[in-house]
Symmetry: C2
Subunit: 390 residues, 2 copies
């Protein structure tokens, strides 16, 4: 993006946020114009729904906003590309997410930003407020804390919990890959995939790819290939070393990428070059998702022989955008009153997204972020599975 | 209230809650119809407000919903007259409160119900979510935990915290009493006040009355007068024994009420009778606020000589209703971006409510709960004080 254009967005965004005073508000769904209205919405009428819920807690889904409500929770530790900016400063992003939930899935998403970045304190706080909502969308929480927080909440809560930076990205990546394989005539089983970037998104993508049958995956971090002889690996990277890189290859990205079919970048600008793409297997598939500046610019990638190029940006074709996944996923979970979210649901969501592309070609492997048919299709796929699991 | 009418409200309330699916929803304030809209509300534009808040946290009030947002927090331990019904079952009440906040003060009030009734866990959870909001309205939390929770949060948070069951009730009671004294020509200093009921509301009323100069107060609980020789007093009642009942009188309500000027009931139906009223000083003032059935019915009270009778009910004159206080109080606090709420503000709010009564007489000591001029007047009184305190 040009500096001018970015500057323009910044200035206009400040003006808009000031003018509207934030992006989300609370509205009333029930009329409150007369004493009679008040007697139904509040005392004495409200006692009856209260009593029925006290007797059968599932009735909260009938009589309260719980049925349509997702908390968008962050500690502000890993916000967009901005890093650890704290809770208040992350609020504009959580409100933006809430606006997207509303637009694409008519979900009442409620921003919640937390005053601590301590893992146990975050888990405890979310458990405390959970009865209020039908689901929890974790957002912009830094690795490795995000893994433990999500894992524990999934175990300990009876409503679905999803860390969008992991699974939203993984689902849309998988959708794009499903369609890419249709074009290149390859199967997941035969692929060699290189993932550059060992953060939350990279790890979630690997887990999802392995689930759909990808056997050969090599993960790289900023120091090169993750292998079992490295002494500098965090516990989560040690886990990755154990399940990827079956030949325990050592070296850098330039070594990993040789003869591979797919490059997935969730890392930093400019780390991929044309020479590397030239060393790949036939029909290279490049997902360069570093934002706003990708690992390689699409033009350069195509020049080096890439058949399919996707990025995180809206001004190139094939934008890998989480908004294709999270609204529909939670819509489906809420519709089914699901108590959990499963890997099968992520795969079903990816397939639903992929299937929404009508005229599939190299420049159209993924629907537009503004395609309003995507969320309902994803919702149906997820709720069908959730209902089957009951 | 007749059983038929109550039954009718219950049935129609259930239908309405089901039909609307709860009472509050989230809406977007910024348009999101084009890629350009998305670039302002979300990436890349949203980065700029985030960065500015990270540098100066007070700017959250300029760019987010914080400036207009109050959390309505409950653990479901003391809900209306229903008792300890738990978090989910209290949600309809919190949503009802949110609807009232919106209607009377255009505040975005956000229901939050908590999974634990442990005092320390509640304090910790509210501290964790506090950066999200401009204020905290504690609701329907049972005594004595409500006192410690409010006290600690007031000390430890930099946004205003108010337990409405205490202070909302106390403010409106004080407003009604201010106007009652105009009619009877008495002053706070010369009053003898009896308060029946030693729960959250009763204690808050005593504290507020003492603050405005009432010197003679006797508090009764279900076992009679609270005095310093009683061995069965909880710590909070011991505190009350120390600051009320200066002559350390013993006995029952019938002893306390002799020669008193004001009876305030926050207790149970039917505990007051005509004989007791006849034993009071001239121009008895009776606030019988047990709901829905008062300590004495207005007709019986008047027959026994009561000059002014107020209740909690909308079908009698002089309804003491919290809705006259909490929307305006929080509107004023948010408008001033106040970090705290003080007893002086409660008194100013009471005076603003009392002053809204244009044609003061025995049947009109308090404005109607639907008078839309009250909240703005209360807001102005509170924000003026808050701005002066800065």
């Amino acid at each position: 993006m040009s500096t001018d254009k970015k500057h323009d967005y910044s200035k206009r965004s400040i003006e808009a946020h000031k003018k509207y005073g934030g992006k989300v508000a609370i509205t009333s769904k029930m009329p409150l114009d007369s004493k009679d209205d008040l007697s139904l919405a509040y005392t004495p009428g409200v006692a009856q729904p209260c009593l029925e819920i006290a007797e059968d807690v599932s009735k909260a889904y009938d009589y309260t906003w719980k049925k349509n409500t997702v908390a968008v929770v962050s500690d502000g530790s890993a916000v967009l590309g901005l890093g650890n900016i704290g809770p208040e400063a992350s609020l504009p992003v959580m409100e933006g997410k809430a606006v997207l939930f509303k637009k694409f899935a008519n979900i009442d998403a409620v921003p919640v930003v937390l005053a601590s970045q301590d893992t146990e304190e975050i888990i405890q706080a979310i458990k405390m407020i959970a009865p209020t909502y039908g689901g929890i969308n974790l957002e912009d929480i830094s690795a490795p804390r995000c893994f433990k927080i999500e894992e524990r909440l999934k175990e300990e809560l009876s409503i679905p919990v999803m860390h969008d930076d992991q699974h939203g990205t993984a689902v849309v990546t998988l959708a794009g890959l499903m369609n890419s394989l249709k074009l290149t005539g390859k199967s997941f089983k035969e692929l060699k995939v290189v993932i550059n970037g060992a953060g939350a998104a990279g790890i979630a993508i690997i887990n999802l790819l392995r689930h759909v049958g990808v056997e050969v995956v090599i993960m790289c971090d900023s120091r090169g290939i993750i292998h079992r002889n490295r002494k500098d690996l965090s516990p989560i990277k040690q886990k990755m070393a154990a399940v990827t890189n079956i030949n325990n290859m050592e070296g850098g990205l330039e070594d990993a990428i040789k003869d591979s079919d797919v490059f997935i970048g969730v890392s930093v600008p400019g780390v991929l070059n044309g020479e590397m793409i030239k060393s790949m297997n036939r029909d290279p598939i490049i997902f360069a998702m570093s934002n706003p500046i990708p690992e390689i610019m699409p033009e350069e990638a195509h020049k080096a022989g890439a058949r399919i190029v996707a990025t995180g940006r809206s001004d190139f074709s094939n934008q890998i955008n989480n908004v294709l996944a999270f609204p529909g996923i939670f819509r489906g979970l809420l519709d089914a009153r699901s108590s959990e979210i499963t890997t099968e649901m992520y795969v079903a969501a990816a397939k639903a997204i992929a299937d929404q592309v009508a005229d599939l070609d190299e420049e159209h492997i993924i629907p537009s972020a503004f395609d309003e048919n995507v969320a309902p299709a994803v919702a149906k796929a997820v709720s069908d599975l959730a209902n089957k699991n009951k």
